[in-house]
C-alpha cells in the first residue's frame, strides 16, 4: 500500500487538506474504498436522524432528542451531561435518571468520544460549513482543557438557578431536535409556540456562524457534552491505535486533517500505541489520510 515515491524525509510541498483526504483511488467506488470510516460514519448519522424523524410518523424507534430519548419503544436513554445538570439542579440523584443514563455510560465506556464524530448531527452541519470556507487548515491555540472550566461553570449555574441551564437553553442537541419538532408541529397545525422553534433555529444558525469564524471552536472548547464524553476516551475499547510507530514518515497529514486539532503525529513519534486524546472524536479522518502514506493508523474495537 505504502509503496509511494515519497521516501525522503525532506519537507515537501504541503498538499491542501482536501487533497489529503481525497485518497489515491479513482472513481466513486475507489473513493468509498479509501473512505470506509467516513462513509460508515455518515450512514450511522443518517440512520440516527431518520430514526428521530420517524417519530413524527408515529414510529417509536427513537423518540425525543439526543439529550434524552425513548429508544426502541421502551428503553429510556439520557445524555451524561444532561444527567449531571439535572442532578445538580434538583439536588437529587434520581433513580429513574440513573437507570436511563446507565446504557449510555456503558455504550461510551466501549466507544469513547465517538458520539461526537458518529452521532452528533452538528458534526455534519459543521462539515458542510467547512466546505463553504474552502477547507482551511485548522489552527487553534486555546487548550481544550479550558472546556472543563466551562462545563463546571454550567453545572454551577444549574445548581444556583435550579434549572439545567445548558441543556435547556443552549444545547445544540436540544435545539436541533426542538427546531425539528417545532417545524413539524407548526406545519401540521398542532399546539406549538412558534418562538421556541425560531429560538432553536437561531441557536443552530449562530453555531454555524461561529463555525465560519472559529472553526470547530464549539466542539474543541465549549461543548460540555463532548467534554464529558472526552473523559471516556481514556478508558474506551474503541480507540485510535498505531500499528507500527517506526513506519511513520512524519508527513503530519493526520494533524492537518483533524477537525479537533489533535496532534496525532506527536503521539506517534512519542511511541504511543494507543492514542487516548480527550479531543479525539474517533472520526477516522487521520486514518484515511494516513492510508495514502504510511498506513499505520487504525480505528477499531479491541479488548486489549
Amino acid at each position: 500500500m505504502s509503496t509511494e515515491t515519497n521516501t525522503n524525509n525532506a519537507p515537501e510541498e504541503e498538499p491542501s487538506c482536501s487533497e489529503l483526504i481525497k485518497g489515491n483511488k479513482k472513481g466513486f467506488i475507489g473513493w468509498l474504498k479509501s473512505h470506509k470510516l467516513s462513509t460508515l460514519r455518515r450512514f450511522v448519522l443518517l440512520a440516527v436522524v431518520v430514526f428521530f424523524l420517524l417519530q413524527f410518523f408515529r414510529v417509536k424507534l427513537a423518540v425525543g432528542s439526543l439529550t434524552g430519548s425513548l429508544a426502541l419503544w421502551f428503553v429510556n436513554l439520557l445524555d451524561v451531561f444532561a444527567y449531571l445538570e439535572s442532578m445538580v439542579a434538583s439536588k437529587d440523584f434520581g433513580l429513574i435518571a440513573i437507570v436511563s443514563v446507565l446504557p449510555i455510560l456503558i455504550a461510551y465506556l466501549i466507544f469513547g468520544r465517538s458520539f461526537c464524530g458518529w452521532v452528533c448531527p452538528m458534526d455534519y452541519l459543521f462539515h458542510v460549513t467547512d466546505r463553504i470556507r474552502k477547507c482551511k487548515i485548522f489552527d487553534f491555540k486555546i487548550s481544550p482543557k479550558y472546556g472543563y472550566i466551562i462545563a463546571i461553570g454550567f453545572l454551577v449555574a444549574s445548581f444556583a438557578i435550579g434549572i439545567p441551564v445548558f441543556t435547556n437553553y443552549f444545547s445544540h442537541l436540544t435545539n436541533f431536535f426542538r427546531s425539528l419538532t417545532g417545524l413539524y408541529f407548526y406545519i401540521m397545525d398542532l399546539p406549538v409556540a412558534v418562538d421556541v422553534m425560531l429560538f432553536s433555529f437561531a441557536v443552530i444558525v449562530l453555531l454555524l456562524v461561529l463555525e465560519l469564524i472559529f472553526p470547530r471552536m464549539w466542539c474543541r472548547l465549549i461543548c460540555p457534552v463532548g467534554k464529558v464524553y472526552g473523559l471516556f476516551n481514556k478508558v474506551s475499547r474503541f480507540r485510535l491505535r498505531v500499528t507500527d510507530n517506526d513506519l511513520c514518515k512524519k508527513c503530519r497529514a493526520c494533524d492537518r486533517v483533524c477537525y479537533m486539532g489533535v496532534k496525532v503525529s506527536e503521539y506517534v513519534i512519542k511511541g504511543d500505541k494507543n492514542i487516548r486524546d480527550i479531543n479525539c472524536i474517533l472520526c477516522g479522518r487521520c486514518v484515511e489520510a494516513c492510508n495514502n502514506k504510511s498506513n499505520i493508523l487504525r480505528i477499531n474495537l479491541s479488548l486489549k
Partner: protein, 256 residues
Amino acid sequence: MELDRRDFLKLSLTAGAAGALSGAISVFDKDANAAPTKEEFEPLPNIKVGGIIRPPGALSEKEFRAKCISCGVCVNVCHTMKYDTLSIAGLGDLKNFGLPYVKDTRDFPCALCMECPKSCPTGALQPVKKEDVKMGMALIDLSICFGWNGDVCLSCSKACPMGASIFDFYNGEWGNQPMINDKCVGCGLCVKYCPLGGSAIKVITRDEYKKVKDEYLADFRKTISLSNEERYNLVYGINLPMIMSRGRMIEREYRD
C-alpha cells in the same frame, strides 16, 4: 380616459399589495382572521388558571423545572399516541422555556394514556396510577352549564375517564346539575366534550383551586338553595340568554 386608467392601475396595484401583505401576515399569524379569540369566551372569567398545567405525573413545579431537560420525549410520545396534548413553552416565561405543558384542553385534552411518565428519562414525570394524577382541577361554570340550566346533558360525565367517582349529581327539576369533586385529575376531556360553545368547564391548577375553592363552593350552595321562583328568574332571565348568545357567537370548531 388616460387618468382613469392610471388610477385604476394604481388602485389595483395597491389592492394587490394589500392582499399580498395580509396574506403574508396571515401566514405568520394564523388566527388573524378568526373573529372571537377563545380567551374572550372562557368559562369562569374571574377565576385564573393560576399557573401551568403540567403533564400527568409531574413533580412539584420547582422540582419539575430542575429535573426537566427539555428533551421533548413527552411531547413526541404524546404525538405518537395521536393526542398531541403536550406543547413546548415559549419565551414568554424564561424560567419555563422549553418545558412541556398542556396548552389547550379545549382542543387537545389529555387522555391519560400514561405513556409520557413511563418514557421520561429524567424522572421529572413520575410513573403514577391514573387515579393519582394531579394535573389540575376542572370547574364547571354553573351559569352557562346546560345541566344547571334546565337540561339533562351528561356530556362531561360521559367523557370523564374516571367516571362515577368524580361526578356528584344533584338531580332536580332544574336539570341533572353535575358537580366535580376533589378526585378530579384535571385531564380536560370534559372540557373538550362540553357541547356549549367555548365549553362551560375550565381546568385550573391545584394551587389555584385551593385559593378559590371556598368562593366556588359558596356559589354552588347558593345556586342550589335558591327558591323555585328565584331559580326561574336566574335561568330564564340571565343564564339562558347568555348560553344562546354564546351559541351564536362561537362556532364550536373555532380553529377553522
